[in-house]
Symmetry: C2
């Protein structure tokens, strides 16, 4: 009988104690907001994303793209059936609802840099 008293919020099979942590579950981690930031206004190929994010490893980029796809915020489109492959990533309609959030996050970081620069 000793269940969790707190009513958890559920999204995509995961539970969160707060609406803020739900969002962080979707866009949190070291790279997901960066990916979303670059996809805000354009579709990008895998290799283009790598160029925009030179310090991420292939493995991590791949995993994070998959996570974002599973949460329904980005979509993956394959254009060729044989190598060399062409794959493009873009925001889904649901993912586009995150644009204000990503913009607020990027803007804040930008302002901090502006005001801290000597």
């Amino acid at each position: 009988m000793k269940e969790k008293e707190t009513k958890m919020l559920t999204f995509k099979g995961k539970e969160y104690p707060c609406c803020a942590s739900l969002t962080m579950g979707v866009i949190g981690g070291k790279w997901k907001t960066v990916i979303l930031f670059h996809l805000t206004d354009k579709t990008l190929r895998y290799s283009e994303l790598r160029k925009e994010m030179p310090t991420v490893t292939e493995r991590t980029l791949s995993l994070q793209l998959k996570n974002l796809e599973e949460d329904g915020v980005i979509k993956r489109k394959v254009y060729t059936s044989k190598p060399p492959l062409k794959v493009e990533y873009s925001l889904t309609n649901f993912g586009k609802t995150l644009i204000p959030v990503v913009r607020a996050i990027a803007d804040w970081g930008h302002e901090v840099i502006e005001n801290n620069e000597v």
Copy 2:
């Protein structure tokens, strides 16, 4: 000579490849946005924060509060010199610039729940 070509952004001694990741460095992780969310409009004591976040452990709450304090977004005020202690946490002026970001994050999570609920 083989230095990082990418110009990194620096804040509080940490380096970030992107303005979005800088913000995530400050508010990322499982609990920091939740803490900021609860401190958005009011000052709270340690025990009050624990009541608002029943699923976080003491250790983690303590560590995250310390991180937030080190980044200058919250301030810790002690009201007693002998036990029982009274300590209050609140946003700094700098921390208040995060309010729109935290609000955007919380709002998105809230809307997802609203629209997914059956």
